[in-house]
């Protein structure tokens, strides 16, 4: 079997300008943040992002990487709104497709099944239809004659997801309470890349967790990256919870004049530099001022 281990930067070298990228997780939960940070360091541009949005959207907005975002919401969970996404929207520089959460799900399912659309009630009567004038409805051919939204397939060039564990062949495992939509993101994508907290031997995957936790199998991912704390500062339970102090710092640093310093301290180096800077941040926070 093919060993698919890569580094975060090797993953990014497979991405191209203008691609449509699906990012897994949900809000500020189990986001592939190390891969996002690697995109921030790259020259990539004009990306279209499909996401149940969190700080992945915010950071990519802050770095000017996005042409368009497709989402149902953008939230940091414990903090309702992401400052960079808001700022980009309020400057009028970001193209968006805003859908109901269930419409995003229907669009990913359509793509995964190679269908042009799936019918759904979500969206009917709301302004989602007017905001996305390309949307069409479809009428039931049966006696009910019901009119429904024909949610178009959200076909992805690439999916990026973060798992708790994986083997080097691309079998991925989540150990937290919720799989989110990571398997569907991979299935909706031309190809996908999986980062994880720890790469283990295949037989180790099911030693302590049931086989149902094997969310992603090696059909999909083209590459696997071991990147401990790779979802930081989002949650990646049971390995770690959200880093609330750091998330607050991220939000506070979005104020004009402060972002440059945040970027220099945390984002300009490589992933190891980031993790070391986060450790220094916490050591500093523990010392009373």
């Amino acid at each position: 079997m093919q060993d698919k281990q890569l580094t975060v930067d090797e993953v990014v070298s497979h991405l191209r300008d203008g691609m449509t990228i699906g990012i897994g997780g949900w809000g500020s939960r189990r986001k592939p943040m190390a891969l996002v940070r690697a995109i921030l360091r790259s020259d990539l541009k004009d990306l279209t992002l499909v996401s149940y949005g969190g700080p992945d959207v915010g950071l990519l907005c802050a770095a000017g990487k996005l042409r368009k975002v497709v989402y149902g919401f953008v939230s940091l969970d414990s903090i309702p709104l992401d400052p960079h996404f808001r700022a980009a929207r309020q400057r009028g520089e970001l193209d968006v497709a805003e859908y109901d959460e269930g419409m995003v799900l229907a669009g990913l399912r359509a793509a995964a099944a190679r269908l042009p659309f799936l019918p759904t009630r979500a969206g009917l009567g709301s302004d989602v239809m007017a905001l996305n004038p390309e949307l069409r409805t479809v009428r039931s051919p049966y006696a009910d004659d019901e009119e429904l939204v024909a949610m178009p397939a959200l076909n992805l060039d690439v999916a990026l997801v973060h798992m708790n564990r994986a083997d080097r062949y691309g079998n991925g495992q989540y150990l937290g309470p919720d799989p989110y939509f990571d398997d569907l993101m991979c299935a909706a994508a031309e190809t996908s890349f999986l980062s994880c907290e720890r790469i283990v031997a295949t037989e180790e995957l099911t030693e302590t967790a049931p086989p149902q936790s094997l969310l992603i199998n090696r059909l999909h991912p083209q590459g696997v990256v071991e990147t401990p704390h790779g979802a930081h500062f989002t949650s990646c339970v049971p390995d770690y919870g959200r880093d609330e102090a750091f998330q607050r710092h991220y939000v506070a640093s979005a104020k004009p004049g402060q972002w440059k310093a945040f970027r220099a301290e945390f984002l300009d180096g490589d992933e190891a530099d980031y993790q070391a800077a986060v450790e220094r941040f916490h050591a500093r926070a523990e010392v009373p001022a």
Partner: protein, 247 residues
């Protein structure tokens, strides 16, 4: 101890779940969370409640504490989105704006291409409002929120639902820090059902940015002794409710 406004609101929220039967209750915000829990302990024992993430909890646990209650089910986000299409759910959502027909906005204020204020996005509001009973909770009743016309329709109101033939649309009440409003006015428009003790009809009218239907307004009922004990001692011993609706 005198009964607080927050406690009156919590009971009004509980009453919005009273006839729900065996469905998932999805309350957003502190007071609706107290309301759903209170309903399960009193009028609606068959309600299913989550821990705020993916677990359905068998016991009705206090707010703001790590739950150690027995888990009776698993409901990750994907299952929520599938289940809501089947209708076995009742939500109480927040709103940045609501109009006279119950159209709700949580997405943005201002122009779409360049919003004055970008908010969270439509979230599940379009799907919730056309699939199952959807109610709203407004902790700060004002003309900023109760507007003639919302900037964007996320949650679908009665006029829009009629236009598209949304057969499962069911927006029943809006509970606020001042009053309980329903949609029994002309053509499914908003009507003042009851004012909370100490609130006048005129105050509600002044703080509502459109003409409310007003016929026989009652006073919102007070919590029973049993309900007060449940709220104070069991559901919200930390008094988180007072942060959402100050006494």
């Amino acid at each position: 101890m005198t009964i607080t406004r927050a406690e009156v609101c919590a009971v009004a929220c509980a009453d919005s779940f009273a006839d729900a039967g065996t469905i998932i209750a999805s309350p957003f915000g502190t007071i609706p969370s107290i309301g759903a829990r209170l309903a399960r302990l009193t009028s609606a024992p068959e309600l299913l409640l989550s821990d705020g993430e993916a677990m359905l909890i068998a016991e009705t646990t206090p707010l703001g504490e790590e739950s150690t209650a027995a888990v009776e089910g698993w409901l990750p986000y994907g299952k929520v989105l599938d289940l809501l299409a089947g209708g076995k759910r009742r939500v109480m959502m927040g709103a940045s704006q609501v109009d006279r027909f119950g159209n709700q906005n949580i997405s943005r204020i201002g122009d779409w291409a360049q919003p004055k204020v970008q908010l969270i996005g439509v979230r599940g509001a379009p799907g919730n409002s056309v699939n199952h009973t959807t109610n709203y909770w407004i902790p700060n009743h004002s003309t900023k929120i109760f507007v003639e016309s919302v900037d964007l329709v996320a949650g679908v109101g009665h006029d829009r639902a009629r236009q598209v033939g949304a057969k499962y649309h069911d927006v029943q009440v809006v509970v606020t820090d001042l009053a309980v409003l329903d949609f029994q006015g002309p053509d499914g428009s908003m009507r003042l059902r009851s004012v909370h003790p100490g609130v006048s009809v005129d105050e509600v009218r002044e703080k509502t940015g459109f003409e409310l239907a007003v016929d026989e307004v009652t006073e919102t009922r007070l919590p029973t002794d049993d309900e007060l004990t449940l709220i104070r001692d069991r559901i919200d011993p930390k008094g988180l409710r007072d942060k959402e609706v100050p006494a």
